[in-house]
């Protein structure tokens, strides 16, 4: 059982979701099922966290041949980087089932499917398998956004779907090209991510393939200027979908850059790192500045999220240990803080029936618990020391200064830009005079409060004692940077070894 724990994490939700779709279950049963399954995911995730060893190579490896003639395998495995994205999903998703009760059966089924698919994309150690999960991930979002979204959901749905699929197709070309190159260089077919790192990529086609990958991920993250689908989609999507998109799916984009682009296209990556870093920094400033002008709080959070993703992506492009580790840590920190903020935005919208900041005011007087939790999440999002947001941002800025001084200084402005729009919003929503729409605003119920409490505590815990997380991330980050360096094969020998061992275990059975 235990050696298949990753498969269980992937397929338990997917199968449950499909079964729900096929049975005439009511929405109550659907919600219960979803809650139980995602809670099981949480338990498994915690189990994985404690069994995870602080080493670089992949762990919990599974390897089953799928199309042996083309070297396509069902291979899974996680390292310190994927572990935390997997955990972010496992920890955060159960909250959705506890908080929102009004949606129908299909909605919960789709949520389950997207949970499984995201776990799959994070755990996949084979490029084709990764691609499959990557695409499956989008489908439930399409349905959730298109069927249960806000008023102008249809254009938003079309935009996100076509935009991301266009990117994915470029990535598919890139995957095929790398597979073919592997065949040309080593005489056998393989799409294994670890073996791929031995590839020597050069020439104009490699650059094209590199950009194929990069554009696909840049759209998903999203990096400036590929972010334009985001405000519409985040604003129109139902809360849980926005939550999934911002808290986890966007991070899978960053993760994919670390996992697929950094080790394989090391040369191209190093060459274009400065360009990409500028894209991250400019995106951070651009989205942060426009966030202050938004009239709709959900849209403001959308731009805020995009702004932070720019910083996180920057951490990857800086190519040094502090920045990369900080980036992975910030992925988790941002998932908790911004994810929770989007959930709060959903609660706010449910209660006041409006998304206009100007219609609100004085919520803090009648809802102190809500205001307190909101403030903590907000402070984490602006990177206040003592909350999870600080560690990651600090490490990224530190790394950015080493990478390029100008980039470092520009990245530092996130400290100012973030605080500007957040305080401006907080003032108008929580302070000042109470407006009619927010009059008698109800505080969090006991269930809601207890749902948020663990995450709020996690935000503070991660800020005060991040070491248990960092020591799991660092070896994997080191390995990736070593792989990106010129003499990369040696460091990766272990990694390949782990996968090969995994496969022999499987074949003996």
């Amino acid at each position: 059982m235990f050696e298949h724990v990753l498969s269980v994490m992937i397929f338990l939700p997917i199968v449950a979701g499909l079964v729900l779709l096929l049975t005439p279950a009511g929405k109550g049963i659907a919600r219960l099922t979803g809650g139980v399954i995602s809670f099981a995911g949480l338990v498994l995730g915690i189990d994985i966290f404690f069994k995870f060893k602080n080493q670089g190579p992949l762990q919990f490896v599974e390897n089953i041949p799928m199309i042996p003639s083309l070297g396509i395998n069902y291979s899974l495995g996680i390292d310190g980087i994927s572990l935390f994205i997997l955990l972010a999903g496992a920890v955060l998703l159960p909250m959705v089932y506890l908080l929102f009760t009004t949606k129908s059966k299909g909605y919960y089924a789709n949520l389950l499917i997207v949970q499984g698919a995201m776990a799959g994309a994070v755990c996949a150690a084979d490029m084709i398998l990764f691609y499959v999960f990557w695409e499956v991930m989008l489908l439930p979002v399409f349905f959730m956004l298109g069927l249960w979204g806000g008023e102008s959901r249809i254009p938003a749905t079309i935009k996100i779907t076509i935009y991301t699929i266009a990117g994915s197709l470029l990535m598919l070309l890139g995957i095929i090209y790398t597979g073919v190159s592997y065949h040309a260089q080593f005489g056998e077919w393989s799409f294994n991510i670890v073996q791929m790192t031995q590839l020597q990529m050069a020439g104009p086609v490699a650059v094209l393939a590199f950009f194929g990958f990069m554009i696909a991920f840049a759209i998903k993250i999203p990096l400036f200027p590929f972010h334009t689908w985001l405000p519409d989609a985040y604003t129109e999507a139902p809360t849980a979908t926005t939550f999934v998109l911002s808290a986890i799916m966007a991070k899978i984009g960053v993760y994919a850059v670390i996992r697929l682009v950094v080790p394989i296209f090391d040369g191209e990556f190093a060459r274009y790192a400065l360009l990409l870093a500028y894209s991250g920094v400019i995106g951070m400033m651009y989205c942060g500045i426009t966030a202050i002008a938004q009239k709709d709080f959900k849209r403001m959070f959308a731009f805020s999220s995009a702004s932070h993703m720019g910083v996180i992506a920057l951490g990857v492009f800086c190519m040094n240990l502090q920045a990369l580790t900080g980036s992975v840590f910030q992925i988790v920190a941002h998932a908790t803080s911004t994810g929770v903020l989007f959930l709060f935005a959903g609660i706010l919208e449910d209660r006041v029936k409006t998304r206009k900041i100007a219609d609100l005011g004085g919520i803090a007087y009648t809802a102190p618990v809500f205001a307190l939790f909101f403030a903590i999440a907000m402070l984490a999002s602006v990177g206040l020391p003592g909350t999870s947001g600080f560690i990651g941002e600090f490490l990224i800025i530190l790394g950015a200064i080493k990478f390029n001084v100008l980039i470092g200084v520009l990245a530092g402005t996130t400290l100012i830009i973030g605080v500007c729009y957040m305080l401006w919003m907080f003032q108008r929503v929580f302070f000042e005079k109470t407006k009619p729409a927010s009059e008698g605003f109800k505080d969090l119920t006991l269930t809601e409060g207890l749902t948020f409490l663990p995450v709020i505590l996690l935000i503070i815990f991660m800020g005060l004692y991040p070491q248990p997380f960092l020591e799991k991330i660092e070896p994997a980050a080191q390995l990736h940077l070593a792989a990106a360096d010129a003499g990369k094969t040696i460091a990766l020998a272990d990694n390949t070894h782990a996968l090969v061992q995994g496969s022999t275990v499987e074949t003996q059975k």
């Binding site: 530190l398 080493k402 530092g412 003032q427 960092l470």
Partner: protein, 637 residues
């Protein structure tokens, strides 16, 4: 001697626990039946008082150590470690931080007690004390942090509390805006701090990023890097300590309750920048150019704020500008490498400025929240205790010998003169005169003459004991603190300077007796001229003046706020609006919508063929088949 101790951590943690307890109590009860104020008051004062006791213990432990090895450390746990970067949650108590600890916890405790009286009846009583405890905890982290990063935790923490407390009366938009301004301006400074830490780390941080390792490795810093680090850190200091160009937030910060102005915006938080520069004296001492810049920025801020202070009509604004001005002195002190003089001024200033603010609070309390000095007058008969204590504070601020402010300010001016910074000295003496003028302008207008608002005067009364007792204790401090660092010329031994010596990298300037006498004489002369000018104009009672020309310009603070608004704030908002309205839809999203449009046009073009009649589709099919068979037959031939 054992340097590792376990009680350092408790000093900041006790108030922080208090903050958590009070905050939870308040959040849990504020929408229902509130808890009795006494419970909050007791809980609120436990933490600061215990911290004060521990601070005394630290002080005496250090005193029992040999002079060159006076430090205590505590490493609680590894905070984060990535590659070479190794930050532990550690605390360091050396003479410098122990001095800060003593007065921060002492004045903090006194202001907590005072606030019980001042805030009574407020419906957010519990929230106030939760914030105040949180502030004290953060401030103690700032003081005790053993590395720049831990210091930064406190640094940002006090900034947060400052924001929360300025916007304490948050139903009023102006107060919240003042809070936002404080936080954002502080954040601009914090950017400098973070970048400075970054450069410092990549230069010498790999061998350890705590103050002791940094001090040991500081000599390998390249001059250019050292200058960059110094200036960036100083940007952080200008934000927190309200210096040019980031001083604008402090006068607005007076929107908060008066005890907050006393504790945070006068006595403790705003001096953090000076403390930080003194902490990094091992770098600043080797970069004279950076010191020069710090000193000039400081003294020019002192001058500017003194000019503004002479024309204000809000009692708290007068004190706020005097705070900015005194902070300028402190920076002038640390800038000319007289770190102990700067820190000593921090120490004395904490007493007399807290005293003045609390006295002003008592006046405002008595006048039912009236802050305009032109509505007061003749209050000395009604509030004798407040009058006498405030007079002591004012004399100390104005630099009257032998009050505390005289010795510390004189020490700074003397150091400037002795190290050859004549420009700084001349401006400093000028500012000393202006300080005496505006301080006594305030005292005369508020306490002397005839009542200007008879009804308010009739209702005015002396504050309760819970407020006057802290005033009296602080007055004793303002009276005596100066003697702790009595220079040799008055037969003293400069105990504070000697106490601080192991923590600071400074060389005491040696100057002749003649120079020393000139420095003292000039200060006293400036004080006398200033106080005389004030007495002439306001001593017998005066009416509210109508400002003309330069005075009007100064009354409006040289329109700096308006300038910043026009140059930074409005363009920022406008850029945001422009992006939202035009750039985002047309430029950034342009290619995407364009692609969609091209697709739509192509679809419209092809639509023509899609007529909807089955027989036409049949015709297309036949045409297609015919063309195919023609081509096929041709290719077969």
């Amino acid at each position: 001697m054992e340097h590792n101790v376990t009680f350092l951590g408790y000093i900041p943690i006790l108030p922080l626990i208090g903050a958590a307890v009070l905050g939870l109590l308040h959040v849990g009860t504020c929408t229902r039946k509130p808890i009795h104020e006494k419970i909050y008051g007791v809980f609120a004062c436990i933490g600061p008082l215990l911290s004060f006791v521990l601070a005394l213990r630290v002080f005496f432990t250090l005193k029992g150590m040999p002079e060159e090895a006076r430090y205590l450390t505590q490493e609680a746990f590894t905070w984060f470690q990535v590659g070479d970067l190794n930050i532990s949650m550690g605390f360091l108590a050396d003479p410098l931080s122990s001095l800060m600890l003593l007065f921060v916890t002492l004045i903090g405790s006194l202001i907590h007690i005072y606030s019980i009286g001042y805030m009574s009846g407020d419906k957010n009583f519990g929230k106030f004390f939760a914030y105040l405890n949180l502030f004290l905890g953060s401030m103690l982290v700032l003081v005790l942090g053993d590395s720049p990063v831990v210091m930064f935790v406190g640094w940002e923490g006090v900034g947060l509390c400052s924001y929360l407390l300025i916007s304490f009366y948050c139903e009023d938009t102006d107060n919240v805006l003042a809070g936002n301004k404080a936080f954002i301006v502080n954040r601009i400074g914090d950017l400098g701090f973070v970048l400075g830490m970054g450069f410092l780390f990549w230069a010498i941080g790999a061998q350890g990023f705590d103050f002791m390792s940094l001090k040991a490795n500081a000599h390998v810093l390249a001059p250019g890097v050292a200058l960059t680090v110094c200036l960036l850190l100083f940007v952080g200091a200008t934000g927190k300590s309200a210096q040019i160009p980031l001083y604008v937030w402090l006068p607005d910060a007076m929107a908060g309750p008066t005890p907050v102005s006393a504790l945070i915006h006068a006595a403790t938080m705003v001096t953090a920048g000076v403390y930080m520069v003194a902490r990094f004296s091992f770098i600043y001492a080797h970069v004279p150019l950076a010191g020069e810049i710090v000193a000039w920025v400081g003294i020019l801020t002192a001058l500017l704020a003194a000019i503004f202070g002479m024309f204000q009509d809000d009692i708290k604004k007068v004190l706020a500008y005097s705070t900015v001005s005194q902070l300028g002195y402190m920076f002038a002190g640390v800038g000319v490498a007289a770190y102990s003089a700067g820190i000593f001024h921090v120490f004395t200033h904490a007493f007399f400025k807290a005293l003045l603010f609390l006295g002003a609070g008592a006046v405002i309390y008595a006048m039912h929240h009236e802050q305009n000095i032109w509505k007061m007058g003749g209050l000395k008969k009604k509030m004798p205790k407040t009058y006498i204590t405030m007079l002591i504070g004012a004399l100390a601020l104005a630099g009257c010998p032998p009050f505390a402010g005289f010795f510390s300010k004189d020490e700074i001016l003397f150091s400037a003169l002795a190290t050859g910074h004549y420009g700084i000295w001349i401006v400093g003496v000028l500012v000393a005169g202006m300080t005496a003028y505006y301080t006594f302008r305030m005292i005369f207008v508020v306490f002397h003459g005839e009542p200007r608002d008879q009804e308010a005067y009739d209702h005015a009364h002396e504050a309760p004991a819970v407020m006057t007792v802290p005033l009296i204790i602080l007055a004793v401090g303002a009276l005596c603190a100066g003697f702790l660092n009595l220079p040799a010329i008055f037969g003293g031994h400069q105990q504070v300077s000697h106490w601080l010596a192991p923590s600071l990298t400074e060389h005491h300037p040696h100057a002749s007796l003649f120079v020393e006498i000139i420095a003292i004489g000039a200060s006293v002369l400036a004080f006398v001229i200033g106080i005389r000018a004030a007495y002439k104009r306001f001593g017998a009672g005066a009416e509210e003046p109508q400002f003309q020309g330069f005075a009007k310009f100064a009354y409006h603070k040289f329109y700096v706020d308006e300038l910043y608004d026009a140059v930074f704030v409005q363009p920022y908002k406008r850029i945001g609006d422009a992006i939202r309205k035009t750039i985002e839809p047309s430029v950034t999203d342009g290619p995407v919508t364009l692609a969609a449009k091209v697709y739509m046009i192509a679809g419209a073009a092809f639509k023509v063929f899609q007529v909807g009649y089955v027989r036409v589709y049949a015709l297309y099919m036949i045409i297609g088949l015919s063309v195919m068979s023609l081509l096929l037959s041709q290719s077969l031939n």
